[in-house]
């Protein structure tokens, strides 16, 4: 019943005050994304390069956290094997809401070079955890990581907190 009432809400966007608060909250979340310090394979090296001085991922307001509890998003950088898949699921579940996933590189997008004969490779990390942004490349350039990060920020900025109708409308 509550959901139906929400949908009938004539004030789309929750009015000016709620709309502004929502914008502020989304702004905070999009500009301060802490990521889980977590690397799997080749893409993790490019991930390190992206953190380094030339590309400086911290410009986007990201801080590496080693504990999943404090992370806002996880970058799955590399091949996810079956043995690792359940661990990634656990890590994802340990993260506090709101949480996001960026799938980096061919391997975690869809198994990549190992999709056909890789008997021990998960064919895409989206089979176990929901992915927000896919970054193609094998491995992607460090700038591509940052572009994916900006895509994620855009997505967060569009999120609806008070009014689910906005979300339904955009999807």
């Amino acid at each position: 019943m509550g959901l139906l009432n929400r949908l009938d809400d004539p004030y789309e966007g929750g009015g000016i005050v709620l709309g502004k608060i929502e914008e502020l909250l989304n702004w905070g979340r999009s500009k301060s994304d802490w990521y889980l310090h977590f690397g799997l394979a080749c893409c993790a090296i490019e991930f390190m390069a992206m953190n380094a001085s030339h590309f400086d991922f911290m410009r986007f307001g990201t801080i590496p956290r080693t504990s999943p509890r404090q992370a806002d998003f996880i970058m799955v950088t590399g091949t996810v094997t079956f043995k690792m898949a359940e661990r990634i699921k656990i890590l994802y579940e340990q993260m506090a809401e709101p949480k996001y996933v960026i799938s980096v590189g061919s391997c975690s997008n869809s198994g990549g070079p190992y999709w056909e004969h890789g008997y021990h490779v998960l064919k895409g990390v989206d089979r176990i955890i929901p992915v927000d942004v896919y970054i193609p490349g094998c491995p992607p350039r460090p700038e591509a990581f940052e572009e994916g990060m900006m895509k994620l920020q855009e997505k967060i900025n569009k999120q609806a907190i008070f009014n689910k109708r906005k979300l339904l409308g955009t999807e």
Binding site: S53, R59, N109, W115, Y134, P136, E147, K151
Partner: protein, 199 residues
Amino acid sequence: MSSYLKNVWAGFYTAVKGMMITSRHMFKKSVTIQYPDEKFDLPANARNKLVLDMSRCNACTACAIACPVNCITVEGVRVSPEDPHQEVHADGKPRKVWVTRYEMDLAKCCFCGLCQAACPSDAIKHTQDFEYSAYNKESLYFKYQILTPEQSAEKVRLLAEFKEKEAAAKAAAAEKAATEGKPVAPKKAAPKADEASEQ
């Protein structure tokens, strides 16, 4: 005692030395490239997004064969000479093959550049573009087409018709030859068997 003091001094001294080095870096100009505003100029041969030039593609499947990942699917149909819609290929000659289906899955591609090297007509190329991350995986699945599905079906039909006609003409010729008393060699059987074995 002296080694103890030396040790303490060394600890203090090397720490201060390290701090001097980092303080020197504090006033150096940063090397950061602020990505969305400034961009690294990539070399011309950078292997990023794969792009196909459909006007050059001949559907020869060399790229699909060379691909270690099998992320390219190519299908083509020969142009029927009776097709009213003839096109000039990018190399200046009339197009011989219609590309009815060209799909590549960049979510699987390993960006090794083997397809680019294998392509005889420079149709498939790695470009410098790397900014195409997506919210859903389907948008990393690139389908190239110059013909609509209806048109492709039409082309297939046209070619089949033409082949039929050709076969009919051949049969007629053979019949004519047979009536004239010349022996007809069974040509078709051997290549067909070869095809089947390859598949």
